[in-house]
């Protein structure tokens, strides 16, 4: 059953924080809501937690109206980005808070509370820290206390707001794997929001990509990366970079080359967007082969080589990424002229409101391969 969010709308003055958002989350699923700041992901989280009410739409949990319950009775665990631990309480008191504030009929005995606090602290690997105050803990430890505190109320939905946003890079990467494991061992339906693509793709079963209050795409990390559904998804997830391509008469024109593109309606389109990913730009073995490009700069980052290239008459340089191994086969250095091929291009036709009308992934045949594969044929000029 899980959680069924349908047609949520939330308006702040003229600004639509959520614009017709629908989403269903399965039981026990680990879902990332990914988007830049201002994309509406925090609004969605606050509405699910009961800290805000939508202007329209509904949220059902196992068929029951979640919005009718106020935040106190919702049974939703929320972990804040800055933890929001109670600084005047010890770790144990923080974790016990949700149990101690229950009405006395439902409140567990003191010994039961103590036992469940101990159990939770063991789960988050903070056994020896029960009597410490939050100020005496590191960022990663505070994060885990906040998690234990949220879990103490045995929530049926766990919400994490930028869970690693306030941590330094090393701790963040370590905690990612830990949290994923942790989720698998608990099995609680979990939704976390983040603006970090790596974080979302690495941890989540399913990624919900948001932009300007709308859902751009929902899919597994692999689906979203391989088949971005919108120009935004392509840019934000697959690092797609815009190229000055034009589609006319079922043909794609790009940097003086022309390829056939079939079943691609452009009549109603307001805008055509052509994107290429950094790793889909490959170096030609001979400079004379392929498209002329100028190597502007090279950066070597842990096994990959990142290059800025000036291609054709584009003002903005485009970024390419190769493995060190591939790069070692070429004898080029900064400021050299090189030949490049595009291995894959994403082409989108959008209307005035930015809605995608048509979408195609194109694999232009290399100049050195005379035979084209698939629907793509090189048109000889």
């Amino acid at each position: 059953m899980g959680i069924e969010i349908s047609r949520l709308r939330r308006q702040f003055g003229q600004f639509a924080a959520l614009d017709d958002v629908s989403l269903s989350i399965g039981d026990g699923e680990f879902v990332a809501v990914l988007g830049p700041s201002g994309s509406g992901k925090t609004s969605l989280l606050r509405i699910l937690a009961g800290l805000d009410q939508p202007d329209a739409g509904s949220v059902l949990r196992d068929g029951q109206d979640l919005l009718a319950l106020d935040a106190r009775r919702r049974g939703v665990g929320l972990v804040f980005q800055h933890y929001a631990l109670f600084p005047h309480m010890t770790v144990a008191q923080n974790v016990a808070f949700g149990l101690r504030v229950r009405p006395w009929r439902q409140r567990p005995r003191a010994s039961a509370i103590k036992a469940s606090v101990e159990n939770l602290l063991r789960k988050v690997e903070l056994e020896g820290f029960a009597q410490r105050y939050p100020a005496q803990l590191s960022g990663g430890q505070r994060q885990r206390v906040a998690l234990a505190r949220a879990l103490a109320i045995e929530p049926r939905l766990l919400l994490l707001d930028e869970p690693f946003g306030a941590l330094d890079a090393q701790v963040r990467v370590n905690l990612r794997g830990w949290l994923r494991e942790f989720h698998h061992s608990l099995g609680i339906t979990t939704l976390f929001i983040t603006h970090d693509q790596d974080e979302a793709l690495e941890m989540a079963d399913r990624v919900v990509l948001m932009n300007r209050g709308r859902i751009e795409q929902i899919g597994t990390p692999e689906q979203i990366y391989r088949q971005p559904a919108t120009p935004f998804a392509s840019r934000f997830i697959a690092r797609g970079q815009a190229l000055p391509g034009v589609v006319k008469d079922q043909q794609l024109h790009l940097f003086g080359q022309t390829w056939r593109i079939e079943n691609f309606p452009v009549e109603a389109a307001h805008e055509i967007t052509v994107h290429v990913r950094p790793e889909d730009i490959v170096l030609a073995s001979l400079t004379a082969d392929g498209l002329k490009a100028q190597l502007l700069s090279l950066r070597h980052v842990a096994g990959t080589v990142r290059a800025s290239l000036r291609v054709g008459n584009m003002d903005e340089p485009i970024e390419a990424e190769w493995s060190e191994r591939d790069w070692a086969r070429h004898h080029a250095s900064a400021d050299d002229a090189v030949g490049i091929h595009f291995q894959a291009l994403s082409v989108f036709a959008t209307d005035r409101e930015g809605r995608v009308l048509a979408h195609a992934t194109v694999h232009p045949p290399h100049a050195s391969f005379p035979v084209a594969v698939g629907p793509w044929r090189r048109v000889e000029a």
Binding site: L51, L78, G98, R149, A150, I153
Partner: protein
Amino acid sequence: MAAVAAVVSIGRPSAATRVARIVLVLAALAVLGWLLVLPLLAIFAEAFRQGLAFYLNAIRQPDTVAAVRLTLTVAAIAVPLNLVFGLAAAWSMTHFEFRGKALLAALIDLPFSISPVVCGMMLILIYGKDGWLGGWLQAHNLQVIFALPGLVLATVLVTLPFVARELIPLMQAQGSEQEEAALTLGANGWQIFFRVTLPRVRWALLYGVLLCNARAMGEFGAVYVVSGHLRGITNTLPLQVDQLYQENFSAAFAAASLLALLTVLTLGIKRFVEWRHGDQLH
């Protein structure tokens, strides 16, 4: 220039900046000593000039004892009222958005800018014999002006901003995240207030209460207008000092030293709180 250099210098100070620093500190101490400490000591010196016996006799005068009792009574009523008001105002100002919020903020500050004498006059205009409510109060045999209620009203009015002003910046800086966390954990409004909000602002609250108390006990202007100066009945300690001053110089200073002692004590507690919990105030 050396003075400026002394203020902004980072790292190891040169000899000139060190001298400038010492000069600046000494100058500040001299000014404070001349303007504040010396006069305060002069009060005690004057109070004890005719000997301890005279002093003890002066402060044991029934009128003076009554004045001390009245001052403490007024403070004991006015300060808790302002504690509740200050908490409520600060809570609503920092946790809610509503129309008239800016107006409320301005109103809280108003007693800071209005002269206390004017505050007293306002009360006379409303509760006095010929005031708006005067007739109704008289018909019901209620005495406000020239009685305890008037004194309390005047004191509350003048000390209104102290608690709220101390809490608002702190609560603004703290935000509502912890309250929201408590809410999602199932706490109700009172539990959130007493277990989360209050403990976080307790030192700032105490600080505000102490300031409020010092001001309430020392208030002269507004109280002067509404008191009526009935010895032993409506004279608070500051008013008693004023009246004694017209008649018996040394007795006036004995009473004044009492008042000074009360406020110095309050400020002493305040300093102690600052020293122990200064990091939690702001």
